[in-house]
């Protein structure tokens, strides 16, 4: 057995974790996640967090600014990996917290928690760089298949990574989905992870090539049919960190500040209190160097960022 607190401490410093430890960690996480339902019940007060995308140092800021895992409850809406330089550390840290404080953190699957997408958007390459083989990537992908598809807070707030699906009328219908698989290219499970709200009258094709666009009417119908007040989702970069739409019936929460180290956006988390009131905390990206000039972010970026 490994010492969970020690692994947490290593991960927070962005230090290397052995392949064996990752394997053990992933196995334990799978066992834990396996018993969770597709839509997890969560009580208030709770902090809802959007996309993280491997920005470990910003994830640490997120915990710092919102009370910390020792004191608060969290829901993460997915997209832990890809794009940033510390996908592995970010995802493993969240898994360690889940093992250490199982009832304080809920992890929902995002559209990047798949084998296909991580091969293109950085997580796979990161593992190859860090380990020289893809084993760790495979272990993590196995865990992805067990992540929940949504959560519901006090029967009032429905949490999901992307959005609604024309194949899902009631939240109960999500419970019957067989989630333990790679995300399919269409159907309810795919839509929940890929869809976006937009100014449309009816279900429309998404420019992303997966999921749907849905409008105010679809949102109002979903809310009243399911007796909930709010859909909290992530999935889309919002420069201001969050964006409420459709008479505040839906909110997008984005938690990766200065996304991809170049977009210049701020990040937000949303706290839902016992009286269901909403409060947003805005935070900025960590500086590339600390106040004594030591590098926090790697300067040798593995990827070209600009057109030169």
């Amino acid at each position: 057995m490994f010492d969970l607190d020690r692994v947490i401490s290593l991960l927070r410093q962005g230090r290397h974790i052995t392949e064996e430890t990752v394997y053990a960690l992933c196995l334990l996480s799978q066992e834990l996640l396996m018993n969770e339902s597709n839509v997890t019940h969560v009580n208030t007060p709770v902090t809802i967090c959007g996309d993280i995308h491997g920005q470990l140092h910003d994830l640490l800021t997120l915990f710092e600014k919102s009370g910390g895992i020792e004191k608060s409850r969290y829901i993460f809406l997915g997209d832990f990996v890809d794009r940033g330089f510390y996908s592995l550390e970010s995802f493993l840290l969240l898994l360690c917290y889940k093992l250490r404080y199982p009832d304080r953190i809920t992890l929902i699957r995002g559209n990047h928690e798949t084998r296909q997408i991580t091969k293109v958007y950085g997580f796979y390459d990161e593992i190859m760089r860090k380990y020289g083989n893809s084993n760790v990537w495979r272990y993590c992908c196995e865990v992805f298949d067990y992540l929940s598809l949504g959560a519901i807070i006090n029967q009032s707030v429905f949490c999901v990574h992307g959005g609604l699906s024309p194949d899902v009328m009631t939240i109960d219908e999500i419970r019957s989905v067989d989630r333990k698989q790679e995300v399919p290219h269409e159907g309810a499970m795919c839509d929940l992870l890929w869809s976006d709200p937009d100014d449309v009258d009816t279900w429309s094709l998404s420019p992303r090539g997966a999921g749907f666009l849905f409008g105010g009417q679809q949102v109002q119908e979903f809310l009243s049919r399911n007796g909930v007040d709010l859909i909290a989702r992530a999935h889309q970069l919002v420069m201001e960190g969050y964006k409420e739409m459709f008479d505040n019936g839906l909110v997008t929460v984005w938690s990766a500040p200065n996304y991809c180290y170049r977009c210049g956006n701020v990040a937000a988390v949303l706290r839902i209190d016992d009286d269901l009131s909403r409060s947003y905390t805005i935070f900025e990206a960590v500086q590339p160097q600390n106040d004594v000039g030591n590098t926090i972010l790697p300067t040798r970026k593995p990827q070209m960022d600009y057109f030169l």
Binding site: I117, V120, G209, L237, N258, C263, G264, P288, F307, L308
Partner: protein, 362 residues
């Protein structure tokens, strides 16, 4: 002179030179030479991006480059050039090949957009001028760009002049001469000792665009100020200071009687909450000591185009160009790599502009 013997010597020369400039950088002494080298190296990024876009099938675009521009052998020309580059400099080849390994769709889309925009515009101007009268293209800071090959093939009335730093033209000259197919396509003449390749239709000029007198003197030798002239600056003006770039624009738009200027560059963004430009400046400074002195000065489309005033200009950002690409082509692009989101692409492409300028009468 024979390529085989020389390439090794030059490899040596390269290495020793780079070690020297590296030390300069460590000491934070930004000598002119190291700044020059830093800017010159951006060419390898552009080349990697282009090869990556070719590799994934974004380029050549069937509807723009093949059908409209009638480009032939686009992919083959680039592969031949890469092969030649491997013979001339393993170091540069290694750099280009390494950054090829992982290429994000968002970068391939951007490379596609800049490439087809410039190619389509060039072809439009050239076909408007027709094949009867002489016409010349001056590609300032051309680096490893190879669009002269299909263009010269399609327009027998065209003369193409590539201009770049000596370091860059030296390599290009060797690669072109060392690659028989490219040598033939450009009808190159065997270069004299220490000279660059040239032909009746193609010139390769070494000069520093910051030195206006040198640039004009060299252009004067190989161009005709009285025939229609197309000037290209693709990510070039952004590395120059405000004064130097303005003097270059003023001088050349006065020198050539009838002209077109096609320019592609990043802009910093003018909205008060827009931090893209300042972050870009900081990122490039931290990671590679690269400066973009006017990014926040010409931070909007209007301000960028205004540099060419009072000439007739039209400017678009690349996101606007993207939004007008026909659905069939978009469908083709989507089939190449899965583009997971549009927000990031939009942010990036709204910060790059494509500017067209025209003066004089054809």
């Amino acid at each position: 002179m024979s390529m085989g013997n020389n390439s090794d010597d030059n490899q040596e020369l390269f290495n020793s030179k780079y070690i020297l400039t590296d030390i300069c950088c460590w000491n934070s002494v930004q000598s002119v030479e190291s700044m020059e080298r830093i800017v010159q190296q951006t060419d390898y990024d552009a080349l990697s991006c282009r090869v990556s876009a070719i590799n994934k099938g974004y380029l050549p675009s069937p509807c723009y480059q093949l059908e409209k521009c009638k480009y032939l052998g686009y992919k083959e020309i680039h592969l031949e050039y890469l092969n030649g580059l491997r013979q001339v400099s393993r170091r540069i080849y290694g750099k280009v090949a390494k950054s090829l390994q992982s290429s994000y769709p968002v970068m391939n889309y951007g490379t596609y957009l800049r490439t087809v925009s410039i190619d389509t515009e060039l072809n439009g101007i050239l076909s408007k001028i027709g094949k009867e009268q002489r016409v010349q293209i001056i590609d300032l800071g051309s680096g490893s760009d190879l669009r002269m090959i299909p263009l010269l093939h399609n327009y027998p009335n065209l003369k193409f002049i590539d201009v770049d730093y000596a370091e860059s033209t030296k390599v290009k000259s060797k690669v072109l001469w060392g690659t028989p197919s490219l040598r033939e396509l450009l009808k190159l003449q065997e270069p004299q000792v220490d000279q660059l390749v040239r032909s009746d239709i193609y010139e390769l000029l070494s000069c520093d665009l910051n030195d206006l007198n040198e640039t004009c003197a060299k252009l004067d030798e190989v161009t005709d100020v009285n025939i229609p002239t197309i000037i290209i600056t693709e990510c070039v003006l952004c590395y120059m200071t405000q004064d130097t770039s303005q003097r270059l624009i003023d001088r050349l738009t006065n020198l050539y009687k009838i002209g077109y200027w096609i320019s592609y560059d990043p802009i910093g963004g003018a909205h008060e909450n827009d931090r893209f430009g300042t972050i870009m400046q900081a990122n490039l400074r931290d990671s590679r000591s690269l400066e973009m002195p006017t990014l926040m000065i010409f931070n909007s489309k209007e301000k960028y185009a205004d540099r060419f005033s009072p000439l007739e200009t039209s400017i678009q950002n690349m996101w606007e160009i993207f939004s007008r690409i026909p659905q069939d082509e978009i469908k083709r692009l989507k089939s190449l790599q899965f583009l997971d989101e549009l927000e990031e692409l939009k942010i990036m492409q709204t910060h790059y502009v494509f500017c067209k300028v025209h003066w004089g009468d054809v």
